[in-house]
């Protein structure tokens, strides 16, 4: 067990380091001149001060070779210093720390709602013997995956804020302002949960132990609860890391639609102003959230399915897709 945990921890650290590297490659090496982009946006079209150019070049290490730059940035990031925002001058880690609680609340609620709805749909579809109900329920996930999140948000806003005046249209004030963003964010996620879970359950129903359980006199509900769910839910557990990552991506759109402050809004602002240090900080933090969730899932996985530990000496299937 200890070896398994240690291997997973080492893997998580490696992925995090690699995510930093990829974001460095994209953000600092892809543009012809990152400093020009930074100043272009920060100055708002004014004449660029050559002293400022020199200062930025030194600050971000552009006067050195790419490898040295990279090492400088990595070293700073390891000490928790993600650099400073070009447009506001504030430390990136502070910006992210300020934005995170609001988004964590929203994402947490959306995840909970998506799990309840997705699991509910899959279980009911798996349990019912009425073909029309099953078909209806299984038609929902493809629909949920197809509707654009930004569109759902606007339609909900139109109906509940501008027509019936049930919920406030904008802002972070109180629980009422959380309802519509949560629902918007949860729909796509619930659809994926329902799809993966009902697929897993469908396969589990075909297993021989189901027949054995029926033969021993168990009812349909008991077979579903005690055998099918336990075995059929494993694929859903393993995609949880990906889902939480997508959830953070989804907040970019949802927080923009509902004009909420938070992680997603910070992303939107940073990309619009091409604030490279902020974008990199956000990408690294999002990858960290994904890695931590996957790690958590990996650590819980053996409790649900002890075979994982037995097979751990051979190949390891990652937590991703």
């Amino acid at each position: 067990m200890l070896a398994y945990v240690l291997r997973r921890l080492a893997g998580a650290v490696a992925v995090l380091w690699a995510a930093f590297t990829v974001s460095y490659l994209i953000l600092y090496l892809l543009p012809s001149d990152p400093v020009a982009i930074m100043l272009d946006q920060g100055a708002g079209g004014e004449r660029v001060d050559p002293e400022r150019v020199a200062e930025l070049r030194e600050r971000y290490g552009f006067d050195q070779g790419p490898l040295q730059q990279y090492v400088t940035l990595l070293g700073r990031t390891l000490t928790g210093d993600l650099g400073t925002s070009i447009s506001s001058g504030a430390p990136v880690s502070g910006l992210i720390a300020d934005a995170f609680p609001e988004t964590a609340k929203l994402a947490g609620l959306a995840l909970a709602l998506a799990l309840v709805a997705g699991v509910g749909i899959a279980l009911l579809a798996s349990w019912t013997r009425a073909a029309w109900l099953r078909d209806l329920l299984l038609a929902l996930p493809p629909l949920g995956v197809a509707v654009p999140g930004f569109w759902v948000g606007l339609v909900l806003l139109h109906l509940f804020s501008f027509t019936w005046f049930v919920f406030p249209a904008v802002g972070n004030e109180g629980f009422a302002s959380l309802v519509l963003p949560t629902v918007t964010l949860a729909i796509g996620l619930a659809a994926v949960v329902a799809q993966v879970l009902s697929q897993g359950l469908r396969e589990a129903w075909r297993a021989p132990y189901v027949e054995t359980a029926f033969a021993k006199g168990s009812g349909r509900a008991r077979v579903l609860g005690a055998h099918v769910v336990r075995n059929g839910s494993l694929p859903t557990v393993t995609v949880l890391g990906v889902l939480v990552g997508n959830l953070l991506g989804g907040t970019v759109v949802v927080e923009t639609v509902f004009s909420r402050q938070g992680f997603g809004r910070l992303v939107e602002n940073a990309v619009t102003t091409q604030d490279i240090p902020v974008v990199q900080g956000l990408v690294v933090v999002a990858a960290a959230v994904f890695v931590l969730t996957s790690l958590l899932v990996d650590l819980v996985h053996p409790l649900l399915d002890p075979r994982v530990l037995a097979g751990a000496h051979g190949r390891t299937g990652g937590g991703a897709r």
Binding site: V15, L16, A18, A19, T21, V22, S23, I26, L27, L30, P31, I37, P142, L143, V145, A146, V147, P148, G149, F150, W151, L154, V155, L157, H158, F162, V242, G245, N246, L248, G249, G250, V252, V253, T256, V257, V267, E268, A270, V271, T272, Q274, D275, I276, V279, Q280, L282, V283, A286, A287, F290, V291, G318, A320, R321
Partner: protein, 274 residues
């Protein structure tokens, strides 16, 4: 072909989906055939009119016909989605082909790299690329494509591994064909089916991602119509003009749904082929 027709007869949903996809593709190719109204210059006197016989989707705040703007915006949005799929397909297949065919340390290195791409949430990865490249529909399309490279690489690699030791591949080797020739003439064609099916399935997700980035304002510059930016423009008129955001968004949703239905039908086909 005949099997394809039979599939459509037994699955009415696939037929409806096909009609929608063909119609939208026709909008993209010959928008002038479906609407005679100007998508760029409007009639200010007709601003914010509700949907009716004269304007099927109503008009926007400048009096432009929204149906016309949606139809004319199709071309840009669909081309962007196809470009994104192209980027993901070519780059991802290349990586997967090399990883699966060469094996060993090359395989390990390439697959670790795709693991990392999967660790960064897709939308954020696209946004990072947009930050570096700048704004515009083509750049948005490339950014969305980059975010899907890893998925294609994985599927291609698994297909190559399946095909690599097939009898006909060994036979070609023994007959003296070079590695490159074997790769291109035998491995690639036989591994391509599921990868192309994946492209069809991913197309819907890619359209949503492109629209989302265009909704956020990183796509085409106004007044050029584009699906996502049309929905975004309607944001400020939600209280007074429900149709402004709703109807273009509905078109996106229907098209993505239709593409998804067809993509899944196609996946089932390639699966039974084996």
């Amino acid at each position: 072909m005949t099997r394809g027709l039979a599939l459509l007869r037994t699955r009415p949903a696939a037929l409806v989906a096909l009609v929608i996809v063909v119609l939208v593709l026709a909008w993209a190719l010959v928008p002038g055939l479906f609407t005679g109204q100007d998508p760029i210059t409007g009639v200010p006197a007709d601003k914010l009119q509700a949907p009716g016989a004269a304007h099927w989707f109503g008009t926007d705040h400048l009096g432009r016909d929204l149906f016309s703007r949606t139809v004319h915006g199709t071309s840009l949005s669909v081309r962007a989605a196809l470009l994104a799929i192209g980027v993901a397909l070519v780059a991802g297949s290349g990586v997967g082909l090399l990883a699966g065919f060469l094996g060993g340390p090359v395989d390990d290195a390439l697959m670790r790299a795709t693991d990392v791409l999967l660790a960064i949430p897709g939308l954020l990865l696209s946004l990072a690329v947009v930050t570096a490249l700048g704004f515009g529909t083509v750049k948005v399309a490339i950014a969305v494509g980059v975010a899907s490279v890893a998925t294609f690489a994985r599927v291609m690699r698994s297909q190559v591994l399946r095909v690599r030791h097939a009898t006909y591949v060994e036979a070609a080797r023994l007959a003296g064909a070079g590695r490159g020739a074997v790769l291109l003439r035998h491995v690639l064609p036989n591994a391509a089916g599921p990868v192309l099916a994946l492209a069809a399935v991913e197309l819907g997700a890619v359209i949503l991602a492109v629209s989302a980035l265009s909704f956020l304002g990183y796509g085409a510059t106004p007044p050029t119509p584009e699906w996502g930016s049309l929905v975004a423009e309607g944001r400020d008129y939600l209280a007074v003009a429900w149709w402004y955001s709703t109807l273009p968004g509905l078109v996106i949703a229907l098209f993505v749904l239709a593409v998804g239905v067809l993509g899944r039908a196609l996946t089932r086909e390639t699966r039974t082929d084996r």
